[in-house]
Amino acid sequence: MKEIRAIIERITRLNEHYQWLHLAVDAFHADIRAGQSLLARRLPERWDPYLREQWWPVATLNQMLIVERSGAEVYEPGEIVSLMGFVGQPFRYKRTLRNVLLIADNTPPSPFIMAIQTLLANRIAVTLVLSGSAANYPTAHLPPEVEVVVADDHLNWSNRVMTVGWADQVFATVAGDDEMGRMNAIWRIFSESRAEVPANYLFGVFQPLLPCGAGACAGCMLPLKQGETALVCMEGPAIDLSTVALPAPY
C-alpha cells in the first residue's frame, strides 16, 4: 500500500448524478485493476470528515486515473487529494467465462465499470443489471456491447430466469443500508432458479466503511460459514457468497 498526492486535472459530468474525476497520478497507479480501489481524502486536511472514502477507478489513461463520484459532490480542477491504495484484490474470473452478469442493487455500478472494458476485450458477454436507484446511472458512455437491464426496487426484471441461467459468473453490489440483507436477497434469487448455487459462481462485491483499508481494524470483517471470517479490504471486495454466513432467510 502506498500513499500519494494526486491533482484533479479535469472533471467530466456524466449526468446530474455522476461525475468522473481525472487524476494525475504516479505511473504506478496505472497498474490498478478492476476490483481494486483507493482510499481518498481531500486536502487541505481537516478531521471532519474523518474516514477516507473509497474511490472506484473506472479507467486509466496515460498518467491519468479516472474515478467515478456522485454528482452531488463539489470538486474543482486543481484540487489535491491524498490517495491510499490499492485496496483489495482484482476480480478473479473463471477460465471458462463466457457470459458475466453484473448487478448493482440500489447503488451505483462504479466497482464494475473498469472491469467491463477488459471483459469485452476478452470477448466475454456482459450484462449489467441496474436495480432501483441504480437506474439513474447513465449508460451512454458504456460500450454498446454491454447489455443494460433495468430492474425494479425488488430486483425483478423481465427474463430474469433466462439471464440468471445464462450467466457463468455473477458479481453483485448492493446499497449499504442493509448490505447483508440485500446480499441475501440476491442469493435467494439465484438459489431459487438453480438447483444449487455452485462455488466461485456468485460473488458479493462488498463496500463496508474501511477505516484502515489494510487488515488492521477489523471494521470490515465479514462472517463466513463455520465461524471463519474474511476482511473485505484484504480479500474483497468480491467474496464468494456461497462461503458467507448470510442472515437466515425470512
Binding site: D177, C217, G227
Partner: protein, 313 residues
C-alpha cells in the same frame, strides 16, 4: 537517543523514539509496511490478543462521527498460540521492541498469557488491556498476576473512567508503566442500520480529556506514563510529553494519515531537532510523489546508519 519508558530495573524497556502505535492500529506488524518506515517507531504494540480465540462482534461496527469514529470489533483474534505461531518470526525481524497487547479477559487467562509470552524471545514486553468498568482491586490482581509470571516489563493500559485510582492500583501491583488512556466507550447510531451501537470513540476531540488525565497521573504516581488518546499531530504528541508522559501511542490518526506516526516518531526521537537542515524534506512535504520519496529514503537510510550504531538496541 535512548528513552527508558518503564520503571528502572533489570528488565526495563528502552526505546529510540518514545512513539509507538496503539494496540490494533498496525495489526500484527504486517500493516502499512510500504507506507511507514517502521524502523523509526520506538516500539511496536501488537493488536489485542486473548488466551482463547475471539470472534468478531455482530452488527454494524463502524460509525463515522464528526471529526472521529466509533468502532466496535469485539477484539477478534485467533488466540495467543496461533498468533505466536503466525507472527513470531515477523516480530523477531523487527528492529524495535515488540509489546504484546493482552486482553484482560480473566485472571486465569492473564496468568496463562503472561507465562506464554515470557517464553517468547519475539516479545519484549506485555501490555495488559484492562476493561472499562474494572474495579481497582481486580486491576491490581490482573497486573500482579502478569508480573508474577514474566520477567518482562508489564505495561497496564487503563480506561479513562476512574483513571487515578486504577493507575495507583496497577503501580502498586508492579506495573512497569501505565498507558493512559484507552479510548473511551460510547454509543452512537449507525447511519447505515439506523441502530444504536456501542464501541470505542476515536478522534482529535478525545485528546483534551486524555491529556488532562495524563497530567493528573504524572503528579500522582511515580512510574512512567505512556500518553495515548486522540493524538493527531506532532504538537499533540509533544503536548502529552509536556504534560508528563514518557512516551506516546498514536491511534486512529494513522489510518487517516499513515505517515503521521513516522513524523511524530522522528520529531520526538530527536531527529528533527538535530537535523533541521535538508535532511528530512518529507517532513515538510509529506506525501510527495513516490519517485522523489524513494530518492530521499535512500539518502536517509545512508545517513541513519551512523546513528543506529550508537543506539542501545
Amino acid at each position: 537517543m535512548a528513552f527508558e519508558i518503564t520503571r528502572p530495573g533489570k528488565s526495563s524497556l528502552i526505546v529510540e523514539s518514545p512513539v509507538m502505535p496503539m494496540a490494533g492500529i498496525l495489526g500484527f506488524g504486517d500493516v502499512y509496511r510500504d507506507l511507514i518506515q517502521y524502523e523509526k517507531l520506538g516500539a511496536f504494540v501488537t493488536a489485542p490478543v486473548s488466551y482463547t480465540p475471539r470472534s468478531p462482534a455482530n452488527g454494524q461496527r463502524v460509525v463515522p462521527l464528526d471529526a472521529g469514529l466509533l468502532l466496535h470489533t469485539g477484539l477478534p483474534n485467533p488466540g495467543i498460540s496461533k498468533v505466536m505461531g503466525r507472527y513470531r518470526s515477523l516480530w523477531n525481524s523487527l528492529p524495535m521492541p515488540v509489546i504484546l497487547h493482552i486482553v484482560a479477559t480473566s485472571l486465569e487467562h492473564v496468568r496463562k498469557c503472561a507465562s506464554r509470552a515470557d517464553a517468547e524471545n519475539a516479545v519484549d514486553a506485555l501490555e495488559i488491556g484492562l476493561n472499562d468498568d474494572i474495579e481497582p482491586d481486580t486491576a491490581e490482581q490482573m497486573i500482579a498476576a502478569a508480573v508474577r509470571n514474566t520477567e518482562k516489563p508489564v505495561l497496564a493500559r487503563i480506561p479513562s473512567q476512574n483513571a487515578l485510582e486504577l493507575a495507583r492500583a496497577v503501580a502498586d501491583a508492579g506495573a512497569g508503566a501505565v498507558v493512559a488512556c484507552a479510548p473511551p466507550r460510547g454509543v452512537a447510531r449507525s447511519p447505515l442500520s439506523g441502530r444504536l451501537v456501542d464501541g470505542r470513540v476515536y478522534g482529535p476531540t478525545i485528546k483534551p480529556v486524555a491529556l488532562r488525565l495524563v497530567n493528573q497521573l504524572s503528579r500522582a504516581i511515580d512510574i512512567p506514563i505512556i500518553g495515548a488518546g486522540g493524538i493527531h499531530s506532532q504538537q499533540d504528541a509533544r503536548d502529552f510529553m509536556d504534560a508528563g508522559a514518557r512516551a506516546v501511542q498514536v491511534d486512529t490518526a494513522v489510518w487517516v494519515q499513515p505517515k503521521l506516526i513516522e513524523y511524530i516518531a522522528r520529531d520526538l526521537g530527536g531527529l528533527v531537532v538535530t537535523r533541521t537542515v535538508g535532511a528530512l524534506p518529507d517532513e515538510w512535504h509529506p506525501g510527495m510523489g513516490e519517485t522523489e520519496r524513494k530518492a530521499h529514503e535512500q539518502q536517509q537510510s545512508d545517513a541513519d546508519d551512523d546513528s543506529a550504531q550508537n543506539t542501545p538496541r
